[in-house]
Symmetry: C2
DNA sequence: CTGTTAGCGCTTTCAT
DNA sequence: ATGAAAGCGCTAACAG
């Protein structure tokens, strides 16, 4: 292994000089700087990460905290794209990322505690937003920098990266109204998520503007349940003309259920969903969807945490990533 | 930060003694061992990872190398589950994982080189198998331990974790033959993948046994192309009774295309796919699929690399993860 | 602009 | 069974 010492010897300077050119210190003569750099290249020098971390206490890695690590969450395109965005941005700044996905809150809590104490990470990105969250509290108390992807909690001075889900839902619903829909159903996954609440709010708002009645159903992420749900609607003759789902995965289940019940889209019913993805874009049929740009959410989170760990101040704590509607075959003019 | 020194002072022993109980050294009296352990717990001691790595040159992290990092690959459930398996297993051994996904081979190559030289990782898992691969060659040359998920390359002394894809395809095809199918089409993604070749081999073998003619088409992962493909089949009146796809993502596209062409599954055509996932299980309609157990592939890879980095010998270089057929609505007795 | 010095927290001979 | 001492590769005062 070639060390800072080796290249110091070869360049006839002291290790500290080498260290200085490494950190881009200004007050090194251009000649020595270039010479040292040349020798580093020649000898294929790689700085030792551990040694640097040991002394600076900067590990150049960011922790990512997820709540659940179950199969559905893992395979959710939204999460994957967010992670990809974070990864890209951190990598660009020469930072590594490390994920924590515990089954239980306590498990995550101790792991996070360890990471902090052993200086394994410099900051965290939380992939969820929750009031009075034990992990967030821990981070705050230990004053470890972190940012949250999700809805801002008003009394907190923490950077939140989010979409305007109320607006997004409102725009989608308005658009569907222009298509001629009057009979809506919003299918939402169970679980008391803030995002879902916001989307329902926006949906209701748009319907109210048009003097239409909202219809919202919370349902389990279970194919059989969804099939019986639609069976009931058919029997009661209360099938809406459009079903909006709160996420791709739920949408996929709805499409599967409708297929089984031989209800044709968009002829007999129409569908639209939040969280556009490869799957919804290539579903049967391709779905009209709200693209919330998860990749950008991740990138913005990465940028923010990079700023925080390098001591920069962020004055806008509330970063909003724009959304847009992608119009596909699952909806059409009535 | 509480160091080994602090707890040495508190226990009235030397740092080296503390270090010894930390590493489970035998020749420490049971009394001091217990006392030291107690104090470590009381003071909530966390070993400093960087310091340990600096001296031992063991980073307790494993590198994961992927070839492509595009959206389709990222969102492919197969990859996700493999990664999850690796992560789980490494975590169980107190190892972290770090991913590398470059756009170009050279980018990955330099990154891997860096990781090795700076002792950032102890070993690698390659998520692909390729003859005469530059990265594999680099690892071999520097004698960094690695395992690969994919087809064994015969003249190599490297642990490979794989399914028996020939057998899996053979079993699936045989099963479909028992359903009464005689007119097959195997739709494979373009790209010269060894897995795909094996699956086609098994498929052909089973058809040959039954004196049936194979029909194999390589196609781009593009919805429009697939639609025109099926249009052509309809026009030529050569629609098979069953379409087998080489992966979930391709299968999803086929379902979308068939939906558009209003060809009903399983009534007018049947479908089956490799690489079962949440998506194929809940598709329109749910797909008969070969579960290749990606989670287990990942776990086995994790186990193997753990063994290698701790210096254990692995005598069986060829680890086969069993597969099984999941029978769903997309196929039925003809 | 550059060198000297003193560690960061840990492991590991070499003693005893 | 335990301690003393050296040093992993790097950075950061401090000193010129």
């Amino acid at each position: 292994m070639v060390t800072i010492r080796d290249i110091a010897n070869a360049a006839n300077v002291s290790p500290s000089t080498v260290s200085r050119v490494l950190s881009g210190n200004r007050r090194i003569s251009i000649t020595t700087r270039e010479r040292v750099k040349q020798i580093m290249a020649d000898l294929n020098y790689q700085p030792n990460h551990a040694a640097r971390t040991l002394i600076t206490k900067k590990s150049k890695t960011i922790g990512i905290i997820q709540k659940q690590g179950d199969k559905v969450t893992r395979q959710n395109p939204f999460i994957i794209e967010v992670l990809s965005g974070i990864y890209t941005e951190c990598k660009r700044h020469d930072y590594a990322t490390i994920s924590t996905t515990g089954e239980q809150i306590n498990e995550i809590l101790t792991e996070v505690q360890q990471m902090i104490q052993s200086h394994a990470v410099e900051g965290f990105i939380l992939l969820y937003s929750k009031e009075n969250d034990a992990i967030a509290n821990l981070l705050k108390q230990q004053s470890v920098p972190y940012v949250v992807i999700g809805k801002p909690i008003n009394h907190e001075k923490i950077v939140h990266i989010d979409n305007d889900n109320i607006l997004a839902a409102q725009l989608l619903t308005r658009y569907l109204i222009t298509l001629g829909h009057t009979s809506f159903q919003f299918l939402a996954e169970l679980g008391d998520y803030e995002v879902v609440k916001d989307r329902i709010t926006g949906y209701k708002r748009a319907l109210k503007e048009a003097h239409l009645k909202p219809n919202t159903v919370f349902i389990e992420m279970n194919r059989q349940q969804i099939i019986s749900h639609f069976k009931t609607l058919i029997n009661e003759n209360t099938l809406p003309t459009i079903v909006i789902t709160s996420d791709t995965m739920l949408n996929q289940l709805v499409l599967s259920a409708l297929y089984e019940l031989k209800i044709a889209i968009p002829e007999e019913i129409q569908t639209a969903t939040f969280n556009d993805s490869y799957i919804s874009a290539n579903a049967a049929p391709p779905q009209t969807a709200v693209d919330i740009q998860p990749q950008l959410l991740g990138r913005a989170a990465g940028e923010s945490i990079m700023a925080l760990v390098s001591g920069n101040h962020i004055d806008d704590l509330n970063i909003i990533i724009p959304t847009h509607i992608v119009n596909r075959r699952s909806t059409q003019k009535l």
